[in-house]
Amino acid sequence: MTGKQTTTWAAFLATLKRDLLIAFKKKNDIVNPFMFFIIVVSLFPIGISPESDRLTEIAAGVIWISVLLASMLSMDSLYRSDFEDGSLEQLLLSPHPLFFLVLAKNISHWLVSGLPVVLVSPLLAYMLALPSEAYGTLVLSLLLGTPIMSLIGSIAVALTVGLGSRGLILAVITLPMSVPILIFGTLAVQSTLNSQSPVGYLSLMLVMLSVSVSLAPLASGAALKISVN
């Protein structure tokens, strides 16, 4: 018989490639949350005040909260179609550790939903009159924070993917868990604005990211097994 078993690395890459390909073909799933993010942020100057002093004060918080909400929107695409078409069962029946396959899906999800948000954030920061010296911190904090949101959201989606009507439950599970990221993300930007070093907050976020990368895929995998059961 032909066919040597693949290495875990090859299975990881195949999963990553597949998910990126699906995202590329289903552009809605990427574009909608991204547009939502931009629109929500743009509403604040209209609704609150166009004065730059006021906007500067709330800029970091507004961007961070909008990122959180946009990530909620994009989460559902992570496992739902795979669950519906049976690909998830194939994933679970792979001889490779589920940890790496789930991690591949999470990374792909972040690349298409988290990264664009990070890249566009300086532009929105400019609109919200955030002083330019804080751009670096903002981007860095988002770069650390958005993958954590993908990883945490993945657990919640995995838990709820088998339920018929999910709606709000995803937000109810995920948003409270995202509070620490929100706190440290905004504090990092604030401290830059107050001419203090944001390194402390950013390193805490780095720690949270490392913990999430090493533990969240395990939890997601276990949750997927329960959902498929």
Binding site: G3, Q5, T15, R18, S81, D82, G86, E89, S94, L101
Partner: protein, 218 residues
């Protein structure tokens, strides 16, 4: 079996038994689906699971694959419990369920490339040959949402041709196939049995396969 066969395979029946299920009990929503279920699946056999709707055929298949763990009893793969050797069991297993595992936005080739490489290395030539054999020539690069249900089923079944897995667990693989497709799948199942592999299949068709045994539920 020829006399030159290795001793381990010619000697006792136990060595040839791929899957041994003992005293399986499963209950769903306070309804007993099956109890004291015993059966063996030796190498080179096609086991057709029969039973009326709701008798637990799909549940049985999912239990055997490790997708459902709400059961009591023992399931042994070559003499060892499946949970104790999940990775090696999974690499010898191929499961196709009701949901065939074909992503609608991807083409058959892209689908196969992923689902096969979860288990074994696969070349594009193998994929093309398999798709040709299941009658999807000319549809290799079409997104699956443009294909009919039967064609999607065929795209999923192409995995059988590529897969070196010893055990195939197929849940209603015949449902959406036309008569040519049924004949084709019977041929593929027969070939698997003749090369020493085994198949568990649920279907209401009467299969024309020499190596067939029946298991009735309910």
């Amino acid at each position: 079996m020829s006399s030159a066969a290795p001793q381990t395979f010619s000697n006792s029946n136990a060595d040839k038994t791929m899957l041994a299920v003992r005293d399986l009990f499963c209950e769903r929503d306070d309804r007993v689906l099956f109890k004291n279920l015993d059966f063996d699946l030796p190498e080179g056999q096609v086991l057709q699971v029969q039973g009326s709707n709701g008798s637990g055929k799909t549940t049985l298949m999912r239990i055997l694959c490790g997708l459902n763990d709400s059961y009591e009893g023992s399931i042994k793969w070559y003499g060892q419990e499946i949970e104790e050797q999940a990775a090696s069991f999974f690499s010898s297993l191929l499961y196709i369920g009701h949901r065939v595992g074909v992503s609608k936005v991807l083409s058959p080739v892209e689908n196969l490339r992923w689902s096969c490489s979860l288990k074994q290395a696969v070349s594009d030539e193998q994929i093309m040959a398999a798709l040709k054999e299941v009658g999807l020539r000319g549809f290799e690069e079409s997104p699956c949402y443009t294909l009919s249900a039967g064609q999607q089923q065929r795209a999923s079944l192409a995995r059988l041709i590529i897969s070196p897995a010893l055990l195939w667990v197929l849940d209603e693989p015949f449902t959406t196939l036309d008569s040519k497709g049924v004949a084709m799948l019977e041929k593929i199942l027969q070939r698997q049995a003749q090369t020493g592999g085994s198949v568990m299949v649920t279907t209401h068709h009467s299969l024309r396969i020499a190596e067939l045994t029946l298991l009735s539920l309910g």
